[in-house]
């Protein structure tokens, strides 16, 4: 390994927990829950121009059993909520959720009886992404913020972080 050459006869010390978290944060395999139009930007996020593989997240897994982070991208209706929750329940721990876009985070412009007004009513969300739809670089930012959470060992909705532009009336985004 290259590390042998760099270190020579010396060695590194770390905690096993930090080492595992470092591995985890650089191989966050997303479960693409592309429910509606945000999914198009999510594809751009994974594609060559924005290139999520720079952060070890290029492997979009269409099986919940092999994924670490769920990208909920799109309007979640009450009918779809059961499906989203079932897929989330099938993901192995530790697992994280990114709520992508206005609809997913708050119902967005669909202020109506059929749409869940924010997926945090039934899922623990780790990072919310603003935008309708958010640009792929904003989603990359969310991924980087999530990586910091993973490195700190946070999961399952603890210490919620928001990224993107927010209205002044709302709380300021947590600085990175």
């Amino acid at each position: 390994m290259g590390l042998d050459r760099a270190l020579g006869d010396s060695f590194l010390t770390t905690k096993i927990e930090d080492a595992i978290n470092w591995c985890r944060k650089n191989s966050l395999w997303p479960m693409p829950m592309g429910i509606s139009c945000c999914a198009i930007e999510m594809m751009a996020f994974a594609g060559p121009r924005f290139d999520a593989s720079r952060f070890g997240s290029e492997v979009l897994r269409f099986s919940p059993r092999q994924s670490d982070v769920m990208l909920v991208a799109g309007t979640t209706t009450y009918k779809m909520a059961k499906v989203v929750r079932k897929i989330y329940d099938q993901m192995p721990d530790p697992k994280w959720v990114i709520a992508m876009g206005a609809c997913t985070s708050s119902g967005g412009m669909y202020r109506t009886y059929s749409v869940v007004q924010g997926i945090d009513q039934f899922l623990p969300v780790d990072v919310y992404v603003a935008g309708c739809p958010p640009r792929p670089d904003n989603l990359l930012n969310a991924l980087m913020v999530l990586q910091q959470k993973v490195q700190r060992g946070e999961s399952r909705g603890s210490a919620i972080v928001r990224v993107g532009e927010f209205h002044p009336a709302q709380p300021e985004p947590v600085s990175n």
């Binding site: 009450y78 059961k82 109506t112 009886y113 059929s114």
Partner: protein, 162 residues
Amino acid sequence: MMDNQTVLERLKTRLGDTILESHEFRGELTVVVPKEKIVDVCTLVKNDPELAYDFLSDLCGFDMYTPSKRFGVVYNVLSLRNRHRFRIKIFTDEEDLKVPTVTGVWRAADCAERETFDMFGIVFEGHPDLRRMYMPEDFEYFPLRKDFPLMGIPGSLPLPKK
């Protein structure tokens, strides 16, 4: 090709007093008939050799929120041969939401009538399979009625537990 005037004249000769009302707006013809006669009217506009409205492009309900004639159904028909469209409209009261089905005339009315039942609660008598289409089967309300709140009835649609 046919124009609205020719179609209306033909309808009037064949149907006579059945046509309660007719009007034209922006080149679109609408004909109002009594709901008891809707199957007869639809059968005629489909089978008449000159009219030949062989395609039901859409069927939908509406809610006027008035004391009488609150609900109604609109049938948008198209003649592929004559390249002409027009609209048949019926009204029904809130107390009597039963309307005869036209699935016997156009098979395509099946899904559209189910959707209208789901959203407005209009019961299509004689429909082969009148179940809810979009809302859950145990849902008790009709979402597109004017007295249904925009944000729905709290707790009527279950969510998975967090």
